[in-house]
Symmetry: C2
Subunit: 450 residues, 2 copies
């Protein structure tokens, strides 16, 4: 078995009215709901009814080429999850945020605040922001190099951890009698002086309920995997076959062990885009219904961005042109490799490639009956390819409802997934210990400054 | 009459379990609720029941000397207000955020998100962050100089406005048939290149429901007042007498006119800390109940910070020692001047000064019956000293409940305050127009980049 508790972990990756790029054009969705906070609150409730570990939002810091053909992310993830936190009690809340274009103090504080608001359900998907269009919104002409971004990320996370730990767990006394709110000897400056950051601390908020939010990562480059091995407690990844999934799983768990950690302390969750039908034929027809709505012009632009080559004038019925080598890609290297492999291994035309990518941008799509989807999940889980799945409903809310009401009960019957929550924190759902704070043993007094 | 609509504007300035520094020690409050999001949601509902224009949170980016004796701000304001937005429908939501230690892109996006979440109720109290302890959490040894902070603030707000305006109001088409989500010709790069920021844009979110969140400001220095005259739509200020209030009101409205704006487009809201009793004696006794709980050690440290001189060893029963001149104060100049004036004009000992400051840190406290408080509000309102008030309940939720259920009905009976909301946005409550976007007339196509 691949999981300590012998239980799957399931995350709902939410995006507008669905992951399929044409979801908003399908009458199964109401595109206007991308602007409606109640839509997202409903999604959180559906995920919680399904006893899922968490919900999650991706994020980018630029509009990019998608504005014409795809509903934007209207809401910023941390504010959005704050509004979803207060209509739920159990489900974890994972926000993507960039180490490239934030300050550690501000971001650590926002995640601490989300963790306090949700009473211990915050998670942070750490991204380094590879897009040149993002760089240009923050005073840079181009993206910092790949290695430099991960060096910054490591220092950033280190500072954030110190800040979350800067208040010891028992720092607050609430001593009404003496008038002492907190013991200043248990509220520490962190005095970080590093390559990229100088941060004195302490953080302007007591230690979050989880000690630290759950740290999540999704890059699959060498730097990305090493970073995950050191810091991440969950990894979202795109793997298309059981064998690829197993290879990635083995590789990353070995890195975790080499980093001196228990391999069970990092959960590996491949993405899956489930098209669910009463029969396999019905599921395939559902998938086709979405494929037929894809706008080739939009897809070509997205593909051009991922592959670093202009395809907008390229024939749809020809194979891909020669691609630049991966070391020329400064953006998302794992996505580039995944798309390149897919096109080459299956010898696809651009049109076919676009169809395959439309559901989950390179994540695995799977059309089948609830039993077939449960079988596939179980197969990966029991064969060391996954500790669970990052579920990417092609349309919302319907696709999430179908998954939680039709697939989840089968996994529960098979004893693979919780039937009731046994914890109230995301850390608890993942079976992770609450980390001991960095200052827990010492007692350095807070130096008060004017 | 001092207001265009002949109606008062009332903001509830919220802080933990109350503005009085000893509020958390008084059995009228439950100090543990500073950690409880539901406490803050309840406060928002109380303000909305009272038909108040808005609720508001101050903010700082460092722990400072208050940690030992006063409950911290546990929650970060923008996440906190996101959670309060979804349990209310009308009340405005004003968050303090710093132009000194944020990026315009990130902050503009968070306020846009709060405005979308609340369907048009966000406000931004713009602060420049004067504390050296704040600077040290962001890589600086000391605070940038006062003038430089305001120059940065002006450029920051200018960029933020361009970003909010970067999507024209009708940019989103939702054209399911053609597959066009938005018209790229109506989503603009802003191409800002200034002294301190280079930001390409567009913002990663459509134009907020209010066009722009309501801009609020609270500094009363020369730079602060000039900044307010140019940008602010509401100003929070501390004025202790009607005459001082009138002088400030006149001065600021003249500056607004000189900046080429309608003076009614900026609302001036002095702070008031109301102690409410059935009789004046009962109200005074309520105030004394709080004064008796003040911790002198804590107050001396706070006062030392404000005045830039170490008072922690100073006798409580002597007057203040000589103070440094105001041009040596790099932090909050208006607070320094206010405290200095108060001590000198009333010839106070340090102990007396601490008692006076305990309620509202220099804001005006007023102990009286509901009628007396309503009279005072009306007096200021009708004599060009205020367009409304920034109500700072000494303890929460009780002090806010008393104000909304006992003082507000009197103001309503007198025709001075709305009995029902007539708008659903904060801009609407203030009678402000929704601003026309900077790109509304032109049509520059979005240049798509890889």
């Amino acid at each position: 078995m691949s999981s300590s508790s012998n239980q799957l972990h399931l995350n709902a990756f939410l995006m507008g009215v669905g992951h399929h790029e044409a979801a908003w054009r399908n009458p199964r969705t109401d595109a206007h709901r991308v602007l409606d906070i109640e839509h997202f609150q409903e999604l959180a409730r559906i995920a919680e009814c399904g006893r899922l570990d968490s919900v999650f939002f991706a994020d980018g810091l630029a509009v990019g080429p998608r504005v014409e053909h795809n509903p934007q992310a209207i809401f910023e993830p941390i504010t959005l999850l704050s509004a979803m936190a207060v209509v739920t009690e159990y489900v974890g809340l994972i926000a993507t945020a960039s180490t490239g274009y934030n300050d550690p103090y501000n971001l650590a504080r926002k995640f601490a605040s989300l963790d306090h608001i949700s009473k211990g359900r915050a998670g942070w998907n750490i991204v380094t922001s590879g897009g040149a269009d993002e760089a240009r919104n923050f005073g840079y002409d181009d993206t910092p190099d790949h290695a430099g971004r991960y060096e910054r990320a490591a220092e950033f996370v280190d500072v954030a951890i110190s800040l979350w730990d800067s208040w010891e767990d028992d720092a607050i006394e609430f001593d009404v009698e003496s008038g002492r709110f907190a013991d200043p000897a248990k509220v520490h400056t962190i005095d970080h002086v590093g390559e990229r950051f100088r941060v004195r601390g302490p953080l302007d908020t007591p230690r979050p309920p989880q000690g630290r939010p759950v740290l999540v990562q999704a890059g699959s480059s060498e730097s990305g995997k090493n970073f995950a091995a050191q810091y991440a407690e969950a990894v979202f990844t795109a793997q298309r076959t059981l064998e690829e999934g197993q290879a990635f799983y083995r590789d990353l768990k070995v890195r975790v062990i080499k980093a001196g950690r228990d391999p069970r302390s990092l959960k590996i969750l491949p993405g899956i885009v489930p098209f669910i039908g009463d029969t396999e034929a019905e599921a395939r027809s559902l998938e086709q219904e979405f494929t037929d709505l894809i706008s080739p012009a939009y897809s070509l632009r997205q593909l051009s961005t991922v592959l670093g080559v202009d395809l907008t004038e390229h024939s749809l019925d020809a194979p891909l042109p020669p691609l630049p080598p991966i070391d020329r890609i400064q953006g998302n290297k794992s996505r580039y490799q995944l798309v390149k492999d897919l096109a080459e291994k299956e010898n696809l035309t651009v049109r076919q490639l676009i169809g395959k990518l439309g559901g989950g941008r390179g994540h695995r799509t799977f059309a089948g009956t609830p039993e077939q989807i449960a079988d596939e999940i179980q197969l990966w889980f029991e064969n060391e390819a996954a500790d669970g799945f990052n579920v990417m409903p092609p349309y919302l809310p319907g696709g999430l409802e179908d998954f939680t009401t039709r697939v989840v009960p089968i996994l529960q019957e098979r004893g693979l997934f919780r039937t009731e929550y046994t914890a109230t924190t995301l850390r608890g759902h993942y079976g992770l210990d609450r980390p001991v704070g960095r200052f827990a043993a010492e007692a350095e007094p807070l130096v008060v400054t004017a």
